[in-house]
Amino acid sequence: MNSEKSNHLKPYEITYIIIGSTVGLGILRLPNDLVKNAYEDAWIIAVISAIYPMYMALMGIYFCRIHPNENILVLSKKYMGNVIGTAANLLFLFHFIIVTAFIVSGFSNLYRVYAVEFLKPFAVVSLELFTAGLLVYMGLKTIARVNTLAFFVLLLTLLGGLAALRKGSYLNLLPLFRSSAADIAKGMKDAVFSYLGVETLFLIYPAAEKGRKIKKSVFVAVCIIMVIYTMVIELTIYYEGTDILLKSFWSFITVSESLNIPIINNFRFIFASLWMFIAIKGTANYFYACEFIVRDFFKGVKRENIICGVYIVLVCITMNMAEETVRSKYMNLLLPIIVIFNVIYVSVIAVIMTLKRKKVNEK
């Protein structure tokens, strides 16, 4: 069952895992977050904010080139010392747990409005995490396959959104460049949540097929994410206009429901099931990352037990911030810290690594 050791990740699977960890249900409210500050220029934010995943991707490639067999947890202990390294790893785990909780609570809030209003939040949260947990138990290779499939499901739902092209107007996209640099900077803060996810690369690159460069697959992933985000924002503004877009909490749903095909008079449940697939694979990726780091702390404990432990912790944390206003309060508070921590954590390791390598070379 646990076949990840014999099966290495193919280059395209790395691409899909990165896309899968980044693009989730957040895409449905991404236009809201960006339009709020920059109006018609929201797409500029989407393009500029890609600096963060690009930086992370560059670092990941650098790590992989120098230590192709050691993940970031080992490297941080190696270069920052055992104590600081472990503490940093613990914070890195904390980041994954928090983001998982954000993803799952977002899923629960959306689905309890749009599809399953008869379910209590606990049922939605625990069932989603349970499904993700099963995927995690089946191993990295299974997760990679699910991500591959989910990418095409994502494309399918985005294609449905293209139907909005018939109805909207290019007038909604004009005028260009009316927001100031300050607005765009403010918008970038809100865009960050959507671009979290490349961090999983630091954990999975040792599992990549040997002798293959991951450079291309990582860059392709970041570019695809950027294109998808820009497209979603432009489509939503094109269809609804910036004034109306802000009135709905998940503005892209209206766009994806603009598809009108005879016989099927309501696409909501078709889309709901497709989006569920996308949400669960994102949760599974993050769940896997949590489990991976915890496994690094408790070597020798059975995997099932670790998964159960992480599952209980995740359910508890998610249930405490499932409500939308509480969730957005925590998101505003924690996300900037998380991003700053990630950048520092990765950069410090990279700098020390470079310095030590120079010393070795000089000797």
Binding site: E40, A123, I244, K247, S248
Partner: protein
């Protein structure tokens, strides 16, 4: 493996027992509204009572479907639900309603309260048509039409097919209202339905004109037709040019509009180009139309000039009488000169110069000329 499956099933069962309150009703026990409608009664200065009218299907034996109406009177639109449940024996399942009818009085009061409730509810049918009716909404909803379970089913067809004549647009769906109502430089027009008396039945007698969410007036069909023609996304329509009872031309055309905007010394100038392309339905004007290019060109010019004249008249009414922008011209200007600048586009359009240029093209002339 077996062990795992048992565990999985046990946990799934547990979660379902804790978290699920399953809906149990069958279709016959559900109240499925064909329409949700609103009327208003003003009591004194600051007090209004909403009359929320739910018309729901009854599924009877032998596949017969009828409908019944429940009227709830409450102080807010959503409170109507609690009053409704006091009178109804069914659980309501929304999402299949065909039309949403507002009375003229309510539309004049401002339909924001209802639109807000409808927008917040994710299970509402976004493709239901919005209609404004004359007089009491209740009379129209309770009006029975043989062969139809409710008048709502009939009205849905009326609005849907209206775009084949009189240049009605198909922008009367709930979702179209959502994207227009608070958007800068945009405006709403809705079909206006009248029930004159029981024998004559329902009829679309014009369009209701809105400034944001408030109805400001009603254009009778003659002018409404031209205003529809000038609006974006208009359908097809029949235009007659008549010199005397025996000399006339009927022109059935589809319109396409283009709007451009210029600003000259603080005055906006809008150019509306309308391209008409259509068929001659009946020609009692010149029998050489099929043979002579010059006659055809003359007729095309004549048609264009006549239609231009009609347009100018309606624009005059719009600019002078209503002082509102029903043609979404402000939207074009906003896209060019910037949004959120505090400009009142209604005022701008009312004081601007609007130039209309019509081009009419004759495409086909039928199978012959008798």
């Amino acid at each position: 493996m077996k062990h795992l499956i048992v565990k999985v099933i046990a946990i799934l069962l547990l979660i379902f027992f804790i978290g699920w309150e399953a809906p149990k009703e069958s279709l016959e026990e559900m109240g499925i509204p064909s329409s949700i409608s609103l009327d208003i009664e003003k009591k004194g200065k600051d007090e209004v009572t909403y009359e929320v009218i739910y018309n729901a299907y009854n599924y009877e034996e032998e596949k017969k479907i009828t409908s019944s109406t429940i009227v709830a009177e409450e102080r807010t639109v959503s409170q109507g639900r609690s009053e409704r449940q006091l009178k109804s024996n069914k659980k309501f399942l929304i999402g299949l309603e065909k039309v949403i009818v507002f009375s003229e009085e309510y539309a004049q009061f401002g339909m924001k309260t209802a639109i807000n409730v409808l927008f917040g509810n994710p299970s509402i049918n976004d493709t239901a048509f919005l209609i404004v009716c004359k007089g009491q909404t209740r009379a129209i909803i309770e009006h029975t039409i043989p062969g139809y379970p409710s008048s709502a089913d009939y009205m849905e067809g009326m609005i849907r097919e209206a775009k084949d004549f009189n240049f009605f647009t198909d922008n009367y769906k709930l979702i179209d209202i959502f994207v227009r109502m608070d958007s800068e430089g945009r405006s709403i027009t809705l079909p206006y339905i009248e029930l004159k008396n029981e024998n004559e039945g329902l009829k679309i007698t014009g369009i209701a004109l809105f400034n944001k969410d408030k109805m400001v007036g009603m254009l009778p069909l003659k002018d409404a037709k031209i205003l529809n023609l000038l609006s974006a996304g208009s359908g097809k329509g029949l235009i007659t040019i008549q010199e005397s009872p025996n000399i006339y031309v009927d022109y059935y055309a589809k319109a396409k509009r283009k709007v451009s905007c210029k600003k000259e010394s603080n005055k906006y100038i809008f150019n509306i180009d309308i391209d008409l392309k259509g068929d001659i339905i009946s020609n009692e004007y010149n029998k050489n139309l099929q043979k002579d290019v010059k006659v055809k060109e003359d007729l095309e010019k004549n048609l264009a000039a006549k239609i231009e004249e009609m347009c100018k008249e309606v624009l005059k009414v719009m600019q002078n009488q209503y002082k509102c922008d029903f043609l979404e011209l402000g939207r074009v200007a906003a896209a060019k000169y910037g949004r959120d600048t505090g400009t009142d586009w209604n005022e701008v359009v009312a004081n601007s110069i609007i130039k209309v240029k019509v081009k009419a093209k004759i495409d086909k002339q039928g199978r012959g000329d008798y």
